[in-house]
């Protein structure tokens, strides 16, 4: 392994593996990959896998299906990396492929995207509750209710909300991922918020204490 490879690997291991790559670092990795360096592929996969997995899992809600979709997305992206235009973000391309694969997956299965969200497994993955308010049973329950409401959004609304808030992508980039105009993305965000408000307003019903618990649970 060259000195440069060692340096990159060290940086990749030191940093949070899920943290977005700096633009220049990403471009360097892609150039190395285009020259056939498989270690660069490993670094790129490690940087993006958990974020991509989270994005797809919020829609697919099944571990195996999510991993299959992520694997296919990576394979499609990396196998045609020779033709990748470095003026674009790799993550945008990857999320675009994953989003379309997820939609195809649902079409194949003829399944409603918001049909079978596994709230119990979601709550159980958040760790054991303790007496801290943020980690209380009620906080977990409220978070689960929010995610359950998110799961009732349409596929594009879920994707827009997740990419906007989780991935912090600007509307322009979300439009590229979803292959729709920016105005449509904003419309999806608006409708998603209205729907969330409609579902959750009866749950919270002017109860400031619940809102405080929820805010602290994620704060």
């Amino acid at each position: 392994m060259s000195r440069y490879n060692k340096y990159t690997m060290a940086v990749a291991m030191k940093d949070n593996a899920s943290a977005p790559l700096a633009r220049l670092e990403e471009q360097r990795l892609i150039r190395r990959l285009q020259r056939g360096d498989q270690e660069a592929a490993r670094v790129l996969i490690n940087h993006h896998k958990q974020r991509l997995f989270a994005f797809v899992w919020r829609m697919a809600t099944n571990h195996q299906d999510t991993e299959d979709i992520c694997q296919e997305a990576f394979l499609k992206a990396l196998s045609s990396i020779e033709t990748f235009d470095l003026t674009y973000r790799f993550s945008t391309w990857l999320f675009t492929i994953a989003y379309r694969l997820t939609l195809n997956h649902f079409r194949r299965k003829q399944k409603n995207v918001s049909g079978d969200f596994d709230v119990i497994s979601l709550a159980s993955t958040a760790g054991a509750p303790d007496f801290d308010l943020a980690e209380s049973e009620e906080a977990h329950q409220l978070k689960s209710q929010v995610w359950e409401a998110v799961s009732q959004l349409s596929g594009p609304q879920q994707a827009a909300i997740t990419l906007f808030y989780r991935e912090s992508l600007p509307c322009q980039e979300i439009a590229e991922v979803m292959n729709v105009p920016v105005a449509t993305v904003k419309s999806h965000l608006h409708r998603a918020r209205m729907k969330l408000k409609g579902i959750l307003e009866p749950v919270f019903a002017g109860d400031w204490n619940k809102l405080r618990i929820l805010s602290e649970a994620v704060g």
Binding site: G36, Q38, F74, I161, F164, Y165, R166, E201
Partner: protein, 219 residues
């Protein structure tokens, strides 16, 4: 101060992070005064905060990267084999062309021109003494070829057809490789039009044949 309706119209722009500082100040002022709007906006903020900050998704499998890199390496090996296979096909096409040239040299050693084929099809006519006289030499040429090779005249015509096919094969193979973007889409049959079948005379060749009245056979 802005009204509740005006404030609620600003929610989306505010939550998109696109509200101007002056309007943000207006909205904040309204929020302090109006409990209903304050509750709605806090609820929406809490929801998007859950999406933004709650990373309770399951982890991607530990061996995800290794599996993916292994598949990529396998794919690269397959691509290498495909490349080799492709090279062999090109070589085969070039060998076909070389064989065709060799056949040309063997079967048309003396003044081998297109007229030979014409003579082979039709007998000379008394109504066209000049043509008939000119073509007598070619008849002798073909008969000489027959004597030299010891093959019947039909075999010589079959070899001539094979020659045409081989030349077409060479052109087709090179053009196809040049035009094709995706090597995976190229099948072996694409390069190999049937060699063994007797091709029909091409319409343009038939049109150039001189009209001879009796159409008698040479042999």
């Amino acid at each position: 101060m802005i009204s509740c309706e005006q404030a609620q119209n600003l929610f989306d722009t505010y939550l998109n992070g696109e509200l101007s500082p002056s309007l943000t100040a207006e909205l904040d002022a309204h929020r302090l005064e109006c409990a209903a709007c304050r509750h709605q906006l806090t609820l929406l903020e809490a929801c998007v905060n859950v999406v933004h900050l709650d990373t309770s998704e399951p982890e991607v499998s530990a061996d995800f990267t290794d599996r993916l890199v292994a598949i990529l390496e396998e794919d690269n090996r397959s691509k290498g084999w495909l490349q080799l296979n492709r090279t062999m096909k090109v070589t085969g096409a070039l060998l076909g062309v070389a064989a065709a040239i060799a056949l040309l040299v063997v079967f048309y050693p003396i003044g081998g021109s297109d007229d030979s084929r014409e003579m082979a099809v039709s007998a000379p006519s008394a109504a066209q003494p000049e043509v008939a006289g000119a073509k007598t030499n070619h008849v002798q040429t073909i008969r000489s070829s027959e004597l030299i090779t010891g093959l019947p005249i039909d075999s010589i015509f079959k070899a001539s057809d094979s020659l045409n096919s081989a030349v077409e094969l060479g052109q087709f193979g090179v053009n196809h490789l040049r035009d094709s973007n995706d090597p995976d889409q190229i099948s072996f049959e694409d390069y190999l039009p049937p060699f063994n079948t007797q091709s029909e005379p091409k319409p343009d060749v038939i049109e150039t044949l001189p009209e001879l009245d009796d159409g008698g056979e040479l042999m």
